[in-house]
């Protein structure tokens, strides 16, 4: 989701950014929104560092505790500053504009907030280093059986809750927003398709997460006597479950000018493309840079084809058709030889 947000911000012209900054300098609420976003980004970045410190492969980092606190602080400062470069850069831009317009209260607020985020991050990651392997707070509930279809959703909820919440909330809010916007002007069904495209892209990282989860924790899957098609069927159920809240939101908020059948078609289209992305990614090592480039290209091509009036039915057929074609040529094990 952050990637999509960054892409969206990247589409804005410099003058638009400056207008936004100028508005934020004069509006505590807007400035608060900026800081909330920065806080979220910082939380995500530092949570990543903490998770890496606890990862079995990186336990040697614990030896870093032997360094003096001041040296550790400096090194953490370096790491955190690198991770927060997007925030520091944007905040720097805002500070320059604040000086130019003599917005001193905004200047001090931004400077304090950024320094606070950096210092808090340094303290937070160093605390994890000094207190490794914390005993997690757990409710002593009876262990309910977990079927295979819930293995990944449970992992996502337990191990990467920020990702789950951000993905589902952003996708849901976007679809609701599009549905509410639809009756207010002369929009046609392309608007709903655009919303769908973005909602699917919000979910794009899920396929990588699911693939990595199964390749790392469920090595035995490749030894199970399921054909490629049976495996595909199981993944369709998995993504159907993940994509189910969007159906509920669509059915609750769809515009009067649109039929239920069209809403179901949109949902099926989204599901087909999610499964297609999964089929393309599963079992492959995906280079993050190439992945971002592919997402960006998909967004642009999708945007152009939707603008060219390619209907939802064609999108639906393309998504499911490509999934079937790609699956037809896959062989067990579902790994690409390295």
């Amino acid at each position: 989701m952050l990637v999509v947000m960054l892409l969206a911000a990247g589409f804005m012209r410099a003058s638009d950014h400056e207008a936004l900054i100028d508005a934020a300098l004069g509006s505590p609420v807007l400035l608060g929104c900026f800081m909330a976003l920065w806080g979220l980004y910082t939380l995500k970045a530092t949570a990543f560092v903490r998770s890496q410190l606890a990862a079995p492969d990186h336990l040697f980092f614990n030896a870093f505790r032997l360094q003096t606190p001041s040296l550790r602080g400096l090194l953490w400062l370096w790491v955190v500053a690198e991770l927060l470069i997007p925030i520091l850069g944007y905040a720097g831009w805002m500070l320059v504009r604040a000086v130019r317009f003599a917005q001193w209260s905004a200047f001090y607020t931004i400077a304090t907030a950024v320094m606070g985020l950096v210092v808090a991050s340094v303290v937070w990651v160093d605390y994890r280093l000094r207190h490794p392997a914390p005993a997690p707070l757990r409710l002593n509930l009876p262990a309910l059986p977990i079927p295979y279809g819930l293995f990944f959703p449970t992992y996502w909820l337990r191990k990467e809750p920020v990702s789950l919440v951000l993905t589902k909330v952003s996708s849901g809010l976007l679809l609701v927003g599009i549905c509410l916007l639809y009756p207010t002007d002369d929009y046609d069904q392309r608007l709903l398709l655009l919303g769908l495209l973005l909602a699917v892209l919000f979910h794009a990282s899920v396929s990588r997460q699911a693939s990595q989860f199964e390749q790392h924790y469920l090595l035995l899957l490749d030894n199970l006597p399921y054909s490629v098609w049976q495996r595909l069927g199981r993944h369709v159920i998995l993504y159907g479950l993940i994509w189910l809240p969007e159906l509920a939101l669509f059915l609750r908020h769809y515009p009067d000018a649109v039929t239920v059948q069209y809403v179901l078609l949109l949902w099926l289209t989204g599901l087909g493309w999610l499964v297609l992305i999964h089929t393309l990614v599963y079992g492959r090592r995906v280079d993050p840079d190439r992945w971002l480039a592919c997402l960006f290209a998909t967004f642009i091509i999708g945007l152009l084809t939707i603008m060219a009036h390619v209907p939802a039915s064609v999108w639906c057929a393309l998504g499911w058709g490509a999934t079937i074609v790609f699956s037809r040529f896959r062989r067990l094990p579902l790994k690409v030889a390295s």
Partner: protein
């Protein structure tokens, strides 16, 4: 029993294992070799976990690539260092694998008792010791009606009592025409298992060891 033809496995363009032709009869087969020699890679290929070039044929009938479902019904695998999602329980994983491998009724309970998994059946895996994890992986490897069971380092972290029960069970399975391949850095002679043949994995290939302990 199992025939390997023109097998080649490469990682990132570098060939790590080449087996031009290998025919392994039924029985208990011990694969030995130094660390990184390719034992685990070979077992994983046979288990259908890794892509490779070549042919692996079970009973001259089931090709691991052409009949992947039939083949995987008959070949099971226990990892050397099993890793499972820590929020699952032995019950969750076992019921999933048992259904996939078409385990006969009562088999799960029998194996869970044999390997002592019943004691932590509904405990989350995050609470397991390495020995408990190993017991769970061994249980999963015997589910269904396999013809070939691949045990990668089965002795590591396994307590003496469970190991003894496991070896008795292996002997019983051998009498029922199940073959077992195992790797170990421990002395397999101590297990008392009737080893059919010992295979040396080294220099990127596999050949039968002539100085081996067999019975």
């Amino acid at each position: 029993m199992l025939t390997v033809t023109n097998l080649t496995k490469a990682y990132e363009g570098k060939t790590v294992l080449t087996v031009p032709k290998l025919t392994i009869p039924p029985g208990i087969h011990y694969f030995r070799g130094s660390n990184g020699s390719g034992k685990t890679t070979f077992l994983r290929i046979i288990a259908g976990l890794l892509p490779f070039t070549g042919t692996v044929l079970l009973d001259n009938t089931y090709d691991s690539q052409r009949q992947p479902v039939d083949y995987r019904l008959r070949v099971n695998y226990a990892e050397a260092e099993p890793v499972y999602p820590d929020f699952l329980t032995a019950r969750d994983l076992t019921s999933f694998v048992a259904r996939a491998k078409r385990a006969p009724p009562g088999q799960v309970d029998q194996l869970a008792d044999l390997l002592g998994v019943t004691a932590f059946w509904t405990q989350p895996i995050r609470t397991y010791s390495s020995g408990m994890l190993k017991k769970l992986s061994l249980l999963l490897a015997w589910l269904g009606q396999p013809q070939l069971v691949l045990l990668d380092e089965p002795l590591t972290t396994l307590d003496v009592e469970t190991a003894a029960r496991l070896f008795d069970f292996v002997r019983e399975q051998i009498r029922q025409s199940v073959s077992v391949w195992l790797t170990s850095h421990q002395d397999v002679a101590l297990t008392g298992l009737p080893i059919t043949a010992t295979w040396q994995v080294s220099n990127g290939t596999i050949h039968q060891a002539t100085d081996a302990f067999t019975s």
